[in-house]
Symmetry: C6
Subunit: 221 residues, 6 copies
């Protein structure tokens, strides 16, 4: 039997701090470059509750959300994990919440909101509620295994595509990602306009002639 005492504290060592800076940096960078999500408010690597860092967005007054909004939100959620993979070459367990969030959005797109072409205009998710009076204790799915496979494939496709998109965008903005991570390690918290400025600086340093249309509000503090 292999045992080990567990210690609990949120003091990060240097290596974890750096990993967290790139992880949150990935979320923050994508928040700014993706046009359809909520704009970036600020990003921090000060631990908060269970999280080692937080990327805060500013949800706009919306009552319904477009397919593009959900895809960008999934892409942003992938940003932390993908940034670490690009920079350090490995995955770690810290992205579990991000994956859960991304998977749940993808599931609802496919099963509730009819946002998959192959599945079509159908709500597969809450049939149990509908017949609740009849099937009070019903459980498990009622649809066929082939339908379940179709739903699985569509959910998987959305998640794979957005991970790939996160990878492409973070690779393109690799220099900007480094500048954001460095800035987070120095200041611990930076605001959206500053992140946008660093992304632009990264493009400039990398010799990319492109003007960023940043998804942020306000100007750097």
């Amino acid at each position: 039997v292999v045992l080990g005492a567990q210690r609990e504290s949120l003091v990060m060592n240097a290596e974890e701090k750096k990993a967290t800076a790139y992880h949150e940096g990935g979320h923050a960078l994508l928040s700014v470059v993706l046009p359809h999500g909520d704009p970036l408010h600020k990003v921090t690597i000060l631990p908060r509750g269970m999280a080692l860092g937080v990327t805060w967005s500013l949800p706009q007054e919306r009552h319904t959300y477009s397919r593009d909004y959900f895809l960008d939100t999934i892409c942003k959620a992938m940003g932390g994990r993908v940034a670490e993979k690009i920079v350090f070459g490995h995955l770690n367990s810290g992205a579990a919440n991000d994956l859960e969030q991304a998977t749940n959005i993808a599931r609802r797109m496919v099963r509730e909101w009819g946002m998959s072409e192959s599945v079509g205009p159908m709500a597969w998710h809450s049939q149990q509620q509908v017949f609740l009076g009849e099937d009070l204790m019903t459980q498990g799915r009622e649809y066929s295994d082939e339908t379940a496979k179709l739903l699985d494939d569509e959910i998987a496709k959305i998640l794979h595509d957005e991970e790939q998109r996160a990878h492409d965008l973070l690779s393109k903005h690799r220099r900007g990602l480094e500048l954001i991570a460095d800035s987070l390690l120095e200041h611990e918290t930076i605001d959206g306009p500053t992140v946008a400025k660093l992304i632009q600086q990264g493009l400039d340093e990398a010799g990319v002639d492109e003007r960023l249309d940043a998804n942020v509000l306000g100007t750097p503090e």
Copy 2:
């Protein structure tokens, strides 16, 4: 981790108001042009409870409902989502309730009312009730995966066909849809006869020589 504070209010911005006008306009237009559903009473983009807009029909005194009634009702439910797709080119999460309603009708057509040729005169839905005394806690389906697939396919076919029909009708009445949406943005609520009048005006403007047999009661206020 990506976080964002959620605000709750039902004040719509201009873009949402326009999207809602086309969404409800789609429901309302189909209510008027489809002959077998309940006639249109009025349509509004004043938020109400969870909904951003409402299309009110006038259910007639009926005790049983025909296959055509259900198909037209599903087609109407698709109208909001399809109108937005035609006009703005994208889907959003606001049609979740419509999809749920449409799916449930399609499910009952196939599983309770014997309205699918391929499935035939069979009630697959409530066997659990029947043997309730015996199988008090029974759950999950008892039929085979192949039967489940047959039911899934029939339900999907109905939904796909009605989405296509909604698409064809709204494309044909594209000008009428615009007139209804504009009228809703101006007046917020319009009655059934007015919707019928605008659809006819749309046909006239589009040079279509056709007299609409409107499914409404009364005359414009």
Copy 3:
């Protein structure tokens, strides 16, 4: 969102009354021409509880029931739905109870009473009871998906065959069906011998030289 206020009353309009007359007429006609079921007592289109009309049979003193009894009973249950389809060309939701009753009999024929050649002398339905002491909360079926498919196919075959038989008999007695429906619309309730008389009259008017062996008790009132 598409909404509509629901009104509840059992006052039927003329169209519904006619549909109900043919629906109950179909049940009643088959009750009389099928030899193995319970004889017809009377038929009415006066609403009763949830039902728009009722066909009353006179169950004989029996303790066990033959395969033919069940097949005729399923055929009778199909009679209402099939009559409407033949006369009006469409299906409606009013036959849901009939389908449920027919499906349940077919299920028990196959799963409890060993009345399917392909399935054979086997009781698949209540194994859970038998091992109740052991598997107190058992749920779902224990048999294989292939066995489930075999049971599904046999149940479906019985129901399809009886629907076809109902269709053939009602087509042959089309004139009698009309006479019964007309009589129901005039008198609202007619007794079994009167139904038998109208069926014979229908055969005579259609030039069919056949003496009906009516499954009724007594003589017309």
Copy 4:
């Protein structure tokens, strides 16, 4: 809707009495000619509880039961249904209990007692109990669908084989069956030795030169 009032009494009409005489006669005849089951005590067509007739056996002092004992018991259970089929050409619902009993024995032979060659020395039935501490609410089977199919096939084979054996034996003793049924209709209850005597008389009348080794105790009263 097709309705009918249900009457409950156990007074049988002549047709049912005759059917019951052949049904119980079938059980009784097989009890006597099958060597491995419990010997026949008496048989009656006086209704008793839910049953229209009863065939009483005399269980011997045994603590374990052989494969042959179970096969003969299943064959006897098939006897009522098969006798009616041979004589009247149809099946009825009265054999439901017999089928349930036969199916349960066949299931336990295959799943608990290792009595199927193809399934082998394995106990598939009560794994849930064994791990009860762990899987307190476990339900449904844990084994694969292919294993479930193997069990189904073995259970079905036993039942089909025994029905066939019942058919062959009752066909051979057709005259004896008639004599037993006639005697039951006359006396309502007859004892085992009398049944044995009638079977021998049947063989003699049919010109079969065979001395019956009857599975009964005592001599005719």
Copy 5:
């Protein structure tokens, strides 16, 4: 309906006593000749609780158990059933407990202890516990049907192999088995060393030149 009164007592008739002597003799013989199981203490055909006879082993002080220990234990459990089959040519229901015990050990070998080459170093059995906080009411297996089949096949293979081994060993020691059964019928209870002595005597009488390495403790009383 076929009924029979049940009597309960544990007085065995001569036939049952003989069957029990061979059944327990089979367990006892294998306990002595198999090297990896617990050594035989004594064997009896005096009924005890639900059992007609008991074979007592002497568990050694062990804290973990080897694959060979489990295989020998399964083989011993098969011994009773196989001995009856060899001697009397049929199976009976008395071995149900033995089969359950053997199946459970085989299941745990495959699903908990990683003792199947094909399945490998994996614990499939108690995943539900692990996620108990999350899936409080989880039930049924989570793994695929193909994995379930793999587990079934491995469990079945172990049981078939050990039944075959029991058959081979009891065939080789057929004379010894007879001597043990005879001794049990005479003395009702015999100790391990006596069983070992009778096995050796059986080998000698059968002309097999082999010295038994008996798995017993002590010498004959």
Copy 6:
């Protein structure tokens, strides 16, 4: 029936002590040679609670864990079982806890942490929680059997690969393993640096010219 009295104590015999020394020696050796797991603190063959021996690691302050950390932890868990297999040539039931721990980590890698290339960035494990409000009593998996198979295969692959890696490392350090086991049998408890020293000594004695980069803290006591 085969019975045996169970005795409970944790006094090990010589054979068990030796097996335990190699089992814990395997865990300890891999703890030291694997670079990504927690460093070894000490190892003991003094029984503790249910365990015959314990290998203690020193968890570092970490908040997230890398893929390599989990792989090394699984490999270490395999070390006890593999060491016994290499030295004694057989498996025993003592590794059940190790297998459970290893399987659970592999399951979470694949289903929660997105650490399998084939499965990808997806969280399959806790969908039930997400829809808890809706599917309060939901149970069983919702995904298809093919997806379940994909997850099974990935989990199995990780476990097989790590067992193979444990086998390769322990074979290479066979002499070191013997030295550690001998030392444990003599001293019962040894610390991490001592284990590291013995591994180096083993390499030297085996003529392997390699300097071990030991994953331990401090120096031998």
